[in-house]
């Protein structure tokens, strides 16, 4: 039951959605759309459990006075503040949007922008042309980095044209080849999951 029922579920729902795609009958289409709607609803619970875990881990940290427990208080405070603002005032509420605009947007953007500095450091320390292939990679990267910005156009008018050719020909060719390979791999993996051959996603005892 613990193994059989999940395998029946993945097989039944998966193949039903695939078959319904090819059968134009109203009942099949309607049922498939219902399952897909349930799917988006159930996905929300994946995030809810994640948030539950964040609260559990940080509450545990505070209770046991583990290292950096004081920061967990700040985390939980702002979690409650944001949730309170959203559930009481609604997602269009003033405080919720204020916190989104003046905290979440700048914090999210700044976190990602930190990578620019580390890319620069890596460019100096790690981007070394040790093999002919790495040399080709770096040459292509340098051409794109200079050609795609105004200074490349300023140095030589033909630079952007060279970059466009690189993007339209070798880049398209390789990306398309990788796309075919990845898609065929993904489809075969999807079939393995639907047929119950691949069970690692079920966790311990899935085999």
């Amino acid at each position: 039951m613990k193994q059989t029922l999940p395998l029946i579920i993945v097989f039944a729902f998966g193949f039903f959605v695939i078959i319904a795609f090819f059968i134009p009958l109203g009942a099949f289409q309607s049922a498939s759309q219902t399952f897909e709607t349930w799917y988006t609803g159930v996905l929300a619970f994946f995030v809810f459990i994640g948030i539950f875990n964040i609260v559990k881990v940080n509450a545990n940290k505070i209770q046991r006075r583990l290292s950096d427990w004081q920061y967990s208080i700040i985390l939980l405070l702002f979690l409650i503040l944001m949730m309170g603002a959203g559930f009481i005032g609604g997602p269009e509420g003033g405080l919720f949007n204020y916190l989104f605009e003046h905290m979440q947007i700048p914090l999210g953007a700044t976190m990602f922008s930190l990578l620019a500095f580390f890319v620069a450091s890596a460019a100096f320390r790690a981007f070394r042309a040790r093999t002919p292939e790495a040399t080709l990679l770096l040459i292509a990267a340098v051409i794109v980095m200079i050609g795609r910005v105004p200074i490349g156009y300023y140095i030589w008018r033909g630079f952007p044209g060279v970059v466009e050719w690189i993007m339209n020909v070798p880049n398209t060719a390789a990306k398309r080849g990788i796309l075919f390979g990845a898609d065929l791999g993904l489809i075969s993996m999807a079939l393995r999951v639907l047929l119950g051959i691949e069970r690692s996603y079920m966790g311990r005892g899935g085999e």
Binding site: T37, F117, A120
Partner: protein
């Protein structure tokens, strides 16, 4: 210890400082480097420009604050073009923060052209559901969209009543930072209903879109902040994207110098062994 040894063991905070200065100085003292326009961006511009007055353009803000710096300038430039051409804008998003970020762009641009909410533009907010939602949206909008972004019944707006299915949509412009995004619009909307799709993506995603450009599944592409700057050039405005191009140029030059220096050090170390 000779100079190359000193350089190779430089504190990384010096590198960070050089990068920061390379960004700050051109912003304070602009160089005014000309922005060239590439074909993929011009194709988007020509597509929007060819639409008749009052045509409906869906602007789908499929990004979050992490990509705001690259995609909001593109959103603003595209909205400028749409409003200048007297096109109607139907804003939405496949990512939750997208329509809120798009709203910031609408608030900045719409008043300039005296555009009226509900008549010339509307924001229907975040639409979850990816594939299912897009298929339903194209088939019958009323099935899916009952109210706008602020919860007001959609039928109370002329533009809300005007969009019934994919047939009423002349172009979709997706500003995409990942999944769901460009691929969803191509597969579940364009492939089914034949609607043309143009995309503005983060620079990271741009190289992956070229196969779709080449196959005609995308009419054009704005890649990263440079793409937004090119579009600003075409619509003859100077926004955040153009302002940032000088800094972008100098930092790229700096990084290329770092790469060259790093490889000179590699050659020197090989020779020393």
């Amino acid at each position: 210890m000779n100079i190359l040894d000193r350089i190779s063991s430089i504190d990384r905070r010096i590198i960070f400082l050089l990068v920061a200065l390379a960004v700050i100085i051109p912003l304070l003292i602009p160089l005014g480097l000309p922005v060239d326009v590439s074909k993929p961006v011009r194709d988007v511009y020509d597509m929007v420009d060819s639409l008749p007055e009052r045509a409906i353009v869906v602007v789908s803000c499929d990004y979050d604050p992490g990509s705001e710096a690259e995609l909001t300038p593109a959103t603003v430039a595209i909205l400028e073009h749409c409003f200048r051409k007297n096109l109607r804008v139907y804003l939405m998003g496949l990512w939750p923060p997208g329509p809120e970020l798009g709203n910031l762009a609408l608030e900045a641009v719409a008043p300039k052209y005296e555009r009226v909410y509900g008549v010339d533009y509307i924001n229907i907010g975040y639409r979850p559901g990816g594939p299912v939602m897009l298929v339903s949206l194209g088939r019958d909008v009323a099935d899916l969209v009952r109210a706008d972004y602020a919860g007001v019944p959609i039928d109370s707006f002329p533009l809300g009543r005007a969009v019934k299915s994919a047939r009423d949509i002349d172009l979709v412009v997706t500003l995409s930072a990942g999944d769901p995004g460009v691929l969803h619009w191509i597969i579940y909307f364009s492939a089914r209903y034949g609607t043309r799709i143009a995309a503005a993506t983060t620079a990271i995603m741009a190289p992956q879109q070229y196969p779709y450009l080449s196959s005609g599944q995308l009419v054009g592409l704005l890649g990263g902040l440079k793409g937004a700057a090119e579009y600003e050039t075409l619509v003859e405005t100077t926004g955040r994207a153009t302002a940032g191009m000088d800094s972008q140029s100098i930092v790229h030059l700096l990084l290329v110098i770092f790469i060259i220096m790093g490889n000179i050090i590699l050659l020197y170390e090989k020779r020393r062994r």
